[in-house]
Symmetry: C2
């Protein structure tokens, strides 16, 4: 192999870091891979930190201490987050996507990788400081965005089901009151999580908060601490939901006569802070 | 802003390309972003092609013609794919994960972003040449890997449901015979796909092929052409399945006395080709 230049080292390093979000790589890992000295590699990393900042491409962080090294986080700046969510709101507002009963069709949005990854990165940016151990969602629609959030946080996704399945092994089932007022079941494999872990709940839609409440109750059964609840969309009504402290990217209001959907970015995205969303 | 050096351009370009897999960016896009000449940018891209090849980090391709430019594909080399799948097989084989009835617990594997992305990249590598318009899966367990495959291909994910939901709008429902011999329903929103598109079916598990057959029938209702069927795991038995031409990453065989799971990499991953999986 030819001599590995700074160009090559920096390009390969950012590619490796960014395909493993939030994972700490030791400096030694890169030194060995590129057959280079620690001092040279440190300079490379410092240059990378600058380039991702200049072009708003996430964050390269050095981590000090025994488990130290370097990691990449797909943190989204406040400006970029607001811009992305505003574009989505414009797409979802109006009459095209309104269904009978005041429901909004946006399943397509929840399955487009580029949009889903962006939403996952924005939500993850809010929770790096809380260090969740896994993301929990309830099947089905929220799974892609929950997966993207878990990916950005570098942690597993755990999926609660409507019923226990033979291929999940023994499970804990709870009953909860759904949005429509029905009693429904939520099931999670015993093997899926461990006691004293920290969970971040991510789902696509928050209305009354029944399903989210169910997920919180389910976590209590496992002695797991819920450190946050994050959603793609929350309805303006009812104002009082069964959970508090939820973060949603967008707020949905349905006007009746004439019928149309008004989707707006959440207030916390509107802050004037031009740094990261978390500030 | 200071002058943008080759280091910076190459690092930023690979970051931008790799966060949008399979999307063609014009050379002009990068020239404008970095205020640089086309000839210089072409050199940068040529150097990037070499560096991702050297470190086995996917593929940077130049695309000629009117819609030309440059794109990145997370193509996995045959050697790397085999190594990753062999490690998974070792993890899944044995007695730990075997459940009553000969089922294998691997929901955790299907939700770990690093593993799921790797599997998605390997599956996508097989289908770049076929240019699917979307990935189709059936809820629930296969959603993360189907999403990762769609992400690598730069196309939307479409999720079929067990029943039609109010928030999906009008839907096409079909009945199919599931693995357990029951008649089940599969539902897909009319808005989800368009006539004459090309679908790639991705799911977690292939046994008899009933669900996959259902998905193929569902696509026929939409006049959509299925260009491939890809799975994480296929059972060795029954040998004759209801679909042909399926690609699975692993094969599962359950021995009875003593009970244990034997999981092996699929034959197509064992080829001696050291280039891309597709060759």
């Amino acid at each position: 192999m030819e001599k590995i230049r700074r160009n090559d080292r920096m390009s390969a390093a950012i590619r490796i870091l960014s395909s493993n979000p939030n994972r700490v790589f030791t400096l030694g890992y890169f030194c060995e891979l590129f057959s280079t000295a620690k001092s040279t590699m440190s300079e490379d990393i410092a240059l990378l930190q600058q380039v991702v900042r200049t072009f708003d491409l996430g964050e390269v962080e050095t981590v000090t201490g025994a488990a130290g090294g370097v990691r990449w986080r797909p943190r989204v700046s406040a400006g970029k987050a607001r811009e992305a969510i505003e574009a989505l709101c414009a797409k979802l507002s109006g009459t095209d996507r309104l269904l009978p009963g005041g429901f909004l069709y946006y399943s397509d949005i929840l399955s487009m990788p580029e949009i889903v990854n962006q939403m996952g990165n924005i939500l993850a940016s809010e929770y790096y400081g809380r260090e969740p151990d896994f993301v929990l969602t309830m099947e089905t629609k929220g799974i892609p965005v929950a997966f993207a959030t878990a990916n950005a946080l570098g942690i597993p996704l755990v999926i609660a089901r409507h019923s226990s399945k033979v291929y999940e092994g023994s499970a804990v089932n709870i009953n909860y009151v759904s949005g429509s007022g029905n009693i429904e079941t939520m099931s999670l494999s015993r093997r899926a999580v461990r006691e004293n872990q920290q969970a971040l709940i991510v789902d696509d839609f928050l209305k009354g908060g029944g399903t989210a409440r169910g997920m919180i109750d389910l976590m209590r059964e496992f002695n797991v601490n819920v450190i946050g609840t994050a959603f793609v969309m929350a309805t303006a009504e009812p104002e009082n939901k069964r959970i508090t402290g939820a973060k949603a990217l967008m707020t949905l209001r349905v006007e009746e006569d004439p019928a149309r959907a008004i989707v707006t970015p959440a207030d916390w995205l509107r802050s004037s802070d031009e740094g990261s969303v978390q500030g």
